[in-house]
């Protein structure tokens, strides 16, 4: 199994504060890996670094063997890293189908001029994208919402749409930022099943930030634990749940 994503000593400073410091991650192709840690540990910052929103102050990011530091976010998407957001960032006034189409535009075969002049090639490309996106919506059980505005959807459906949108970019690595936030236990079970199914059906590698331990322990094959910007533990769910350092980070230590 080859490593799809490797970070070496990834560090990011904001002013004098190290939000992320010396982080070494290793994610192999096809793995479902979790990233956990208390609030403010720097998990979303890691995601932002991996998707090009921030540039690492030092250290390297290697995606599929090639250096991916400092690439702009849209380039990160083009080489195959897609994400969802902690606070849902859908295109609120666009419909569900349109949201997904925007992401699919990445693989479109139409230039600006062909779109403006509506060449037959462009029309065909649009139809292809339309069908592809509709099929994607069907696979994620969103087809009935296709023409609804994104901001009119129930919360759980919005979260699913964010995932669908990310999938439309044909990613190899999918970063999910707290996908189960705000869900009730039933919805969380559905989500867990969904993530695993997607990983298998779309040949994805998944890196997942989550606070709900049941979700993390339930589907992650390996887990990284972050605290104050540093990786303090790494291993299988069983190893992590018994690790005293992890418990100290979440619960604090007893005052002697």
């Amino acid at each position: 199994m080859s490593d799809l994503l490797v970070t070496e000593n990834m560090t990011r400073y904001f002013g004098g504060l190290a939000a992320v410091s010396g982080v070494n991650l290793r994610v192999a192709a096809g793995e479902l890996v979790g990233l956990i840690g208390p609030n403010g540990a720097g998990k979303t910052t890691v995601f932002n670094l991996l998707t090009g929103v921030y540039v690492p102050t030092s250290g390297k990011i290697l995606f599929d063997g090639r250096v991916a530091n400092g690439l702009r976010p849209f380039r990160m998407a083009r080489i195959g890293i897609a994400r969802t957001f902690q606070n849902i960032r859908l295109f609120r006034m666009l419909t569900v189908l349109q949201n997904v189409k925007v992401a699919a535009a990445l693989r479109a075969r139409q230039s600006l001029s062909s779109a403006v002049f509506r060449t037959p090639g462009q029309v065909r490309d649009d139809m292809r994208i339309h069908e592809e996106c509709m099929r994607l919506l069907e696979r994620l059980d969103l087809a009935q919402y296709a023409d609804s505005r994104a901001d009119s959807l129930p919360y759980g459906v919005q979260r699913r749409l964010e995932i669908a949108r990310a999938l439309a970019t044909h990613p190899r690595l999918l970063l999910l930022d707290e996908p189960a936030a705000g869900m009730n236990p039933n919805e969380k079970s559905d989500l867990m099943a969904l993530v695993q199914r997607l990983r298998d059906e779309f040949s994805l590698t998944v890196l997942l930030i989550e606070h709900d331990m049941r979700v993390v322990m339930g589907i992650c094959e390996r887990i990284y634990v972050l605290d104050y910007g540093e990786v303090i533990a790494e291993g299988t769910p069983e190893a992590i749940s018994g690790d005293p350092r992890v418990m100290a980070a979440y619960l604090g230590t007893e005052e002697a």
Partner: protein
């Protein structure tokens, strides 16, 4: 080309005026994150108040004929300053209440009556100027009637509108207010330039180095410094001032702490308006430039650049920015590129926004992803 020092002196005079106006911008930006585009026109109103007070309303005496009248004239001049400040403070509060607050809080009954009065204006004006009894009475009567008829309309709108407090909407509104003041002013007083005659004794002193300084310039500087000192006292030591700073930090938290944000915001606009009005009065009376309803636009924009230069939300920054803008303009005006003296402000703005949008003394708040 004048000497370096002379230009510097002129620059400081210009700069202190820009600083007065810039403080108004930065105060409002601090509490509301709004660029009050209409601020330059408040300055213009202050200048007009000064003009009318000096030439028509107050008993100024001609100094060339009666030099002993100097003290009474100076006293009257101080009164003019206060008048301009009061009128402009009120104007600032009015603008905030009816153009900006509805964007935050939605439309209310008072807004219906305000717009009723506005709608009644053309009818009343067709009967004659508002300074006469009949048109004035007609305006009030029709205005009140319109107000009551607008009440249900306003309620209907308030129910249906989804308020997205977009800063852009507020900016568009501000631009609208600015234009209403300018072109409305043109309709009311016409485009003829007005000049305020010499009402206070103005002597010019020759300093070593070929620099000439007049009492007018010293007066401008003195008044500006005094007002800034008073403002600093208000902002730092009074409860209202502290409330202003709290709102500038986090308006929601301020509300939770029991601060009546609407009143404090009104107060902020009053302060800014007063300073702009003072600036207008000083310019009108002491620099004798021509005053037209459009003349506030350019100084307003330059003062805005000064506020951005100093760092939006920072009062010392506004003062610093104002001085820098004034000096820069003075040097450009005195050089061979004098035709570009107005463009220098825009060039500084463009460079500033590209290189350091936070300004010299401000903080840049990045968007959290």
């Amino acid at each position: 080309m004048q000497s370096f020092l002379q230009q510097a002196v002129f620059g400081i005079q210009l700069g202190s005026l820009y600083a007065l106006i810039a403080i108004g911008y930065t105060l409002v930006y601090g509490v509301l994150r709004l660029i009050n585009f209409a601020h330059g026109d408040v300055f213009m109103v202050g200048a007009f108040v000064c003009y009318y007070a000096c030439t028509r309303w107050l008993p100024f005496r001609d100094l060339s004929a009666d030099p002993s009248a100097a003290t009474s004239n100076i006293a009257l001049a101080a009164l003019v300053l206060v008048m301009a400040m009061c009128v402009c403070a009120a104007l600032g509060v009015l603008i905030e209440r009816f153009a900006y607050r509805p964007l935050r809080n939605g439309l209310g009954v008072a807004d219906a009556h305000f717009w009723g009065l506005v709608a009644a204006l053309p009818f009343a004006l067709s009967m004659g100027k508002l300074t006469q009894v009949v048109p004035l009475a007609a305006w009030l009567a029709i205005g009140v009637i319109f107000g009551y008829t607008l009440r249900p309309v306003v309620r209907w709108i308030a129910r249906r509108s989804v308020r997205t407090t977009s800063r852009l909407n507020a900016l568009i509104t501000a631009i609208g207010v600015s234009f209403v003041l300018e072109y409305g002013g043109l309709l009311v007083v016409g485009a003829d330039p007005n000049f305020v005659p010499n009402v206070v004794p103005e002597k010019v002193y020759q300093l070593p180095g070929g620099v000439r300084i007049g009492t007018a310039q010293l007066a401008i500087l003195a008044v500006a410094l005094l007002l800034m000192a008073i403002l600093r006292y208000i902002v730092v030591y009074t409860r209202r001032g502290k409330a202003m700073r709290a709102i500038a930090h986090d308006i929601e938290a301020a509300k939770l702490m029991g601060i009546d944000t609407d009143r404090v915001i009104s107060f902020t606009f009053a302060l800014g308006g007063a300073l702009a009005g003072a600036g207008g009065a000083l310019v009108a009376a002491l620099t004798h430039v021509k005053i037209t309803p459009l003349f506030g636009l350019l100084p307003g924009i330059k003062a805005f650049v000064a506020a951005v230069l100093g760092g939006p939300g920072s009062i010392p920054g506004a003062v610093l920015g104002g001085l820098l803008m004034g000096v820069a303009e003075a040097f450009v005006a005195g050089s061979q590129y004098s035709a570009f003296r107005d463009a220098i402000a825009f060039c500084i703005l463009i460079v500033l926004l590209l290189v350091r949008p936070a300004g010299l003394l401000g903080r840049h708040v990045a968007e959290k992803v």
